[in-house]
């Protein structure tokens, strides 16, 4: 104990055996948000690899990947709420749906411009979240979950019964998107590139938010809200802000989803979508951004592609995956990369303890 006290005075000349862990924070910890050159290189490589997909794959898998990317945008928003801020939500599908309906309505009535549609989806998702969120953010934990579920089901019900947006039939007849007043993007590959570009942009923007002082505030709220209040913060305001932001992100995701499908129905915003988005976050690793994106791809792959070939038993597979993740990988897919650094940290901590005693 004396040794520890001595060390804490900070005036011992002895070199610390903790230097490696000091210089290299856990990759899956808060350090995962820090922008670094290596991280940037990996990000560029992943986007480049994804961008090459239409060159080697046939249109059908490319369309499936487009849906995965659009869904991943929704999941990024859910992760921002659930993983970063600690607010598990089952209502994000509502804002996803609002974005999808907005994009189709803009596409049918106003312009085929993909950018205008996506922006409209963003704004309407933000507005819908701003209107409904003020009630939800007053609650936390299971109550928050139930409130967001209620919001989601209500919005779903509106879409299902409101004839102006097609009721349960949904809205069809959306013309193909175009960019910068150019020709219609008919090939699956072009739509894919557009969706990939927007998804990458959203990912980068959210990563910036998470590493900003505001993101630090959100993580502080997740860890200990009472403590944040005692430091002079108003957690309810920060929670409302992130709820609106997540709504805007979901709105963009919905717009992208509709641009690929060129059709929207109440099924695109139902409970199943919300649950799968939350499942993606859990499988991917709440709080990491790329993990849940992988989770989103996995979930949609099982539901849309694998399920058909195993007699429609996709949900069963998802259930099994969920249970396996909860028991075997409590930090999700994202937890796998940090393992080595974590082990190193554990050993150095143990060594420190031994030295101290």
């Amino acid at each position: 104990m004396k040794a520890e006290a001595e060390a804490m005075r900070g005036d011992t000349g002895a070199p610390q055996d903790t230097t490696t862990s000091v210089l290299e924070p856990l990759r899956s910890g808060p350090g995962a948000y820090l922008p670094g050159r290596r991280r940037a290189v990996v990000a560029v490589a992943v986007v480049a690899l994804l961008a090459a997909a239409p060159l080697v794959l046939s249109p059908y898998p490319v369309s499936a990947m487009t849906r995965m990317l659009a869904f991943a945008v929704l999941v990024i928003g859910v992760d921002l709420l659930t993983g970063v801020t600690g607010l598990p939500s089952l209502g994000q599908a509502a804002y996803f749906g609002v974005g999808a309906y907005t994009a189709v309505l803009v596409g049918v009535h106003i312009t085929p411009d993909a950018m205008v549609q996506a922006l409209a989806g963003l704004v309407m998702g933000l507005v819908a979240a701003a209107v409904t969120g003020w009630v939800a953010v007053r609650a936390r934990g299971i109550v928050f979950l139930m409130l967001t579920l209620a919001i989601g089901e209500s919005v779903h019900q509106v879409a299902d019964t409101w004839s102006a947006v097609g009721g349960s039939n949904g809205l069809a007849g959306m013309p193909p998107i175009s960019l910068f007043g150019g020709p219609s993007l008919l090939a699956a590959g072009f739509v894919y590139w557009w969706v990939l570009a927007v998804a990458a942009l959203v990912f980068a923007a959210v990563a910036l938010v998470v590493s900003s002082p505001y993101g630090r505030t959100l993580r502080g709220i997740r860890d200990n809200e009472a403590r944040m209040r005692a430091l002079g913060y108003r957690p309810a305001l920060a929670r409302y802000g992130v709820f609106c932001l997540a709504g805007a992100v979901a709105g963009v995701g919905g717009a992208l989803w509709a641009q690929q499908a060129r059709f929207v129905s109440p099924g695109d915003m139902g409970f199943e979508v919300a649950a799968l988005a939350l499942l993606s976050v859990v499988i991917g690793g709440a709080g990491s951004l790329w993990g849940p994106c992988l989770g989103a791809a996995l979930v949609l792959f099982v539901r849309d592609s694998l399920s058909a070939s195993i007699g429609g038993h996709g949900p069963l597979v998802l259930g099994a995956v969920f249970i396996a993740v909860v028991f075997l990988m409590p930090r999700g897919l994202a937890g796998l990369t940090g393992t080595r650094a974590r082990l190193r940290n554990l050993t150095s901590a143990r060594r420190r303890k031994e030295n101290a005693s």
Partner: protein, 254 residues
């Protein structure tokens, strides 16, 4: 109230008291833990709040901080009435807490723990003060070494330093220290005491809730003893130390 011998803070001195609590009643879910607490802290002074377990010391600190709403009574900080105000309002009035059990942000790094407090200080009423993360690192070089480590990777003593640093970054007028020695080894307590002694020149008033009498006597100008939700004794630290029989009857130690 007849047994409240030695209540030095007479009613007339309120003007110089930074913290002035009158007839504070509070508790949890209808129970009464604080049963009419009268308590003052003169500007710049350190007052130790002593008492056996469960007499309401932590409840008192929580109520002053606005983390628990009182049933009735008055809490004035620098003349401003704060009873029933939200914690963030109390915090922005210049009150900071070093909570029992440290409660640092476990998933955040040391650096982030400090920045989060420093950023909150920019709130209008917090004002720009002398404390910056850099100055905290200077005062506690150990934290500088651990700056990239997560809160839950620190030892108890390091966490306590971080909790103190976090509170200082609020640039407080009044510091609420809730059992800073709790769960720490004697050598580490000594270190924390040294650290807090070094802050005496800053003119920060403090309420020090402590079970460790040596630490309390070392740091405090005055001593108050709580029993069953009331202050039953108040005197200067020197007076209190001289009368061992009284200390024994009040605290069961001595």
């Amino acid at each position: 109230m007849t047994e409240t011998t030695g209540l030095t803070a007479a009613a007339g001195t309120t003007g110089t008291d930074l913290l002035s609590v009158r007839d504070l009643r509070a508790g949890y879910a209808g129970t009464t833990v604080l049963d009419g607490v009268d308590f003052t802290v003169p500007a710049g002074a350190v007052v130790a709040l002593l008492g056996r377990n469960g007499v309401g010391k932590s409840t008192f600190v929580h109520t002053v901080m606005g983390m628990l709403k009182p049933y009735s009574g008055s809490v004035r900080v620098g003349g401003r009435e704060l009873a029933g105000a939200a914690a963030h309002t109390v915090a922005r009035s210049g009150v900071a807490i070093v909570p029992q059990g440290r409660r640092v942000f476990a998933p955040l790094t040391v650096e982030e723990n400090l920045r989060i407090a420093a950023r909150a200080s920019k709130a209008p009423r917090g004002g720009g003060g002398p404390w910056t993360p850099e100055r905290v690192y200077e005062l506690m070089p150990r934290l500088a070494e651990r700056r990239a480590n997560r809160g839950d990777q620190l030892s108890g003593g390091e966490q306590q330093m971080l909790a103190i640093g976090r509170a200082l970054l609020r640039n407080p007028r009044l510091l609420l220290l809730d059992e800073p020695s709790d769960g720490l080894a004697p050598a580490v307590i000594d270190l924390i005491a040294e650290l807090l002694e070094g802050l005496r020149g800053e003119g920060i008033a403090a309420v020090l809730v402590e079970q460790d009498l040596h630490l309390a006597f070392r740091l405090a100008d005055e001593v108050a003893v709580m029993q069953k939700g009331r202050i039953v004794h108040r005197s200067s630290t020197a007076d209190f130390r001289q009368d061992r029989a009284r200390a024994h009857s009040l605290l069961g130690v001595g």
